[in-house]
């Protein structure tokens, strides 16, 4: 079971939900795809961390072979190459690593070299395998890191033996994917292989507006999904109204709560700190499993 947690708007509680679900589902896998601002590892504080750099290919010019024909400059749709003062200049930061310039160069003056843009870390904490992608500051895109994360987290053998408490699907432990905010390419990459999506929404008109966007996204990708309403206050909840009007499944309502907020802001896993929260996330986990089970049944 691979569950992706997303939200359109930032700060709605994606990491809270993902981290705590992974904690109550242990043994499990947690994957932090918010590579621009990864935070899950701050909660798990994993040990035995192995780090692997993620590199992309960027062009490397042999100035002796370059004749200044500018074919590469004309070809590059990303404007990552310029020819000025008798020299070819490569702008690494905006290069998309398509390899086109190397193909079009008639002189064989261009080759490719690795450039590190960040890393993938893998560690464990209380029977949770924790995968974290980290984009270096100043880099434009973390998509290659997300590819690497999802590949690694789905291919490698689980570190843990079977748990007695949690019945598992034959294809391995439950994996929980913490997505970046928004609904752009980077989010789509994160949810592509998910069996189920959890949309986390805040009780504001901002939250509702952004819920609508991710709702469209999961609909477009034909992903089964449900909504967690977080930070619920007394009074009107535009996100709840949105769900009710459209018959969207509400998986859970997490009240606004100073204690939860304080624990979470100190990077504590609330499900490990209090029975109330542990029960709440266990219930949510069961609900999600049921939903995924229904989906599997409906498509078999």
């Amino acid at each position: 079971m691979r569950v992706a947690v997303l939200s359109g708007k930032g700060g709605t509680g994606k990491t809270l939900v993902t981290v705590n679900l992974a904690a109550v589902a242990a043994p499990s896998v947690y994957v932090d795809c918010d590579v621009e601002e990864p935070n899950g590892h701050l909660f798990f504080k994993p040990g035995q961390v192995q780090e692997e750099p993620v590199t992309v290919l960027i062009p490397h010019v042999d100035p002796a072979a370059c004749t200044g024909c500018r074919k590469c400059v004309e070809f590059c749709n990303f404007n990552a190459l310029a020819y000025a003062s008798g020299k070819l200049i490569v702008f690494d930061d905006i290069c998309h690593s398509c390899g086109g310039c190397v193909l079009v160069c008639p002189e064989g003056a261009l080759s490719e070299k690795d450039k590190a843009i960040g890393c993938v870390q893998r560690g464990t904490a209380d029977r949770v395998e924790v995968y974290t992608g980290i984009l270096n500051t100043g880099e434009a895109t973390g998509i290659p890191i997300i590819h690497r994360l999802l590949e690694q987290s789905s291919l490698e053998e689980p570190l843990h033996s079977d748990s007695e408490q949690q019945p598992r699907r034959a294809d391995g432990e439950a994996t929980f994917i913490d997505c970046p905010p928004g609904s752009a390419c980077i989010v789509m990459e994160s949810i592509k292989d998910a069996d189920y999506c959890i949309l986390v929404a805040e009780p504001t008109i901002f939250g509702m507006h952004n819920l609508r966007m991710v709702h469209e996204l999961v609909t477009l990708f034909e992903k089964p999904f449900g909504v967690v309403l977080n930070k619920c206050l007394e009074g009107e909840n535009p996100s709840e109204v949105y769900c009710v009007e459209r018959g969207i499944k509400i998986l859970s309502r997490i009240p606004f709560d100073h204690e939860l907020g304080a624990l979470n802001s100190d990077a504590k896993i609330v499900a490990n700190e209090s029975d109330v929260y542990r029960d709440a996330f266990r219930t949510l986990l069961e609900t999600v499993k049921e939903e995924v089970g229904h989906e599997a049944a409906a498509h078999s």
């Binding site: 359109g8 708007k9 930032g10 700060g11 709605t12 990491t15 621009e36 601002e37 935070n39 701050l42 070809f75 749709n77 990303f78 930061d93 998309h96 690593s97 398509c98 390899g99 086109g100 193909l103 079009v104 984009l135 500051t137 100043g138 880099e139 434009a140 895109t141 973390g142 970046p180 905010p181 928004g182 609904s183 752009a184 390419c185 980077i186 989010v187 789509m188 805040e202 009780p203 504001t204 008109i205 901002f206 507006h209 952004n210 966007m213 469209e216 996204l217 477009l220 206050l233 009074g235 009107e236 535009p238 100073h258 907020g261 304080a262 979470n264 802001s265 100190d266 990077a267």
Partner: protein, 291 residues
Amino acid sequence: MKQLLILSGKGGTGKTTIASAFIKLAAAKAYADCDVDAPNLHLIMGWTSEPERSDYCGLPQAVIDPDLCTACDLCRQHCRFDAIETGDVYRVQPFSCEGCGVCEYVCPAGAARMIPAVAGELMLYRDSGQVFSTAQLAMGSGTSGLLVTEVKKQMKSGAGDVDLAIIDGSPGIGCPVIASLSGVDMVLIVAEPSVSGISDMERIIRTAAAFEVEAVVCVNKSDTNLSNTKKIEAFCAEHGLPFVGNIPFDPRAVEAINDGKTVVDIECISGTAVRSVYKETMKLLLEEEVN
């Protein structure tokens, strides 16, 4: 034109809440929402008129003409983005295509072609006194940095020669944030007093520094974790970053937003705090001008 950009690294710290209040307090003649992935500023700025809309074409997208395709597989082998799907026919998965044009170049049959693609919509609200530039990126599109640049361009050309522009940014540190940083005079970073918030704040501060934009910091929801708020203040002091104030958590702020109002439109503690943050920030932004 002095441009003030509001960023946070972490999402949901209150960028738009603070940007909207600043726009009101400054009676800004030009402002923009650069969070093109999830724009929200238009929800509370109270424009009743319809904006001028225009399509945003990002990079072109590849298509394969099945009648010309000989299934030679060269496009798939050369595509670095795994955007070529094979099956009954070769086709391009539009969400994966980044528009590089390599498939068109390698196709010996002329079957792969690049065509213009609409990747979002630009909107410009304007009346006699103000312009507001915003946009919405199409679902799953990948060129948010370029669209951010267009939003800022549209704001500048629409506003002409005004003193001040306020720009609401996006979360993260990647391409839309980098695009929004270009040409601004100062960044106000809205931090949150959580371990996550501090980690994200440090990353956005490093990003702003890499592009040589001066940053000042405020803390929102400061009373939700006082010891973390102290840590942020200490971090700023240690790194020589001006600290422009704390804004307490305020349920009235949520009510104001849901009413389509900014926090300075009603009497509330967060509104009072934002006024003071505004004063401090403007003082520093204008000092800049003197130098």
